[in-house]
Amino acid sequence: MSVPRAPYDPRGVFRINLPHFEIGPRARAVGTYISGTLFTLSFFLMIDAATVSKYSRPPPDAPYDTVPVHVAFVDWIPAICSTLGFLVTSLLDKSHLHAALSGDSWGTDGPAAWRARVVLFIGVALMAGGLAGSLTVLILKYIVNGYTEYIYYGAANVGMNAGIMLSGIILWVSQSGSDEYEYQLTV
């Protein structure tokens, strides 16, 4: 009895139980559509900033100046992090997660639950890191250097990463509902 008991319920994957959303197959379909739309729209926000930066011209009163700041690879690093995090969290199988959550004998605190925990942690950390990185780019590249007229590039970056995070949340919620087949079985 030297090992202290865990202070939380070891049967769950998470210390705080995930809220379980009861949504039907219709809401599941609509949520998946909305998630895909939001994902692409946030990507196009970033692409828009890059395109505007590519085609930006110097101000008309000084036509021979160079444009001081462009969207470079640094601006895309948070986007890469967010996209990887989105992929990781959405590739995690929700039914396995629920099996582990419901306290099956093989998924209690075994390797499956452990793996699910680590994978989910990595995914969410990548998404949050992308959001934080986009804020960093906005502040360090555009606000501190005083490029106030080019602040749209940084703001689009933040909006893109927030949109990907929101899309991941919507996808997670809509996937955790029952799908059509299960629904038919229960009805």
Partner: protein, 131 residues
Amino acid sequence: MGVGLKTVIFLAFVLALGFLLVILSCALYHNWLPLLVAFTFVLAPLPNSICSRCARADDISPEYNSAYVDFGRFLTGSLVAAGFAFPLVLAHSQVIESGACWMSISGGVLVYGTILVYSGWFGSGGNDDEF
């Protein structure tokens, strides 16, 4: 029969109108980039049909896998959003005129709506979730 024939003719007319709008938006401004919008909207119904086939082929096995269907829905949503966003991006950076942007968007919506309505009325009956 008569109603079906009229509907088909009407849908074909709308489809031609949509393509006309998209091609006009390119030809009037001598910039053929908005033509990509038409491809996006034509490709938009494809993922759902392919993925529903994949899920249906799995019906024999007891493990029903809805991942294909969900992935198809995700792709459809993203393709439709890309069709709307692409001309807006081009117009924002002044690569194309805003008139061309709105013409190509409305043309693409007409094309996509035609495909939706056609598959909803005449496509594989019984399946009500065909987009």
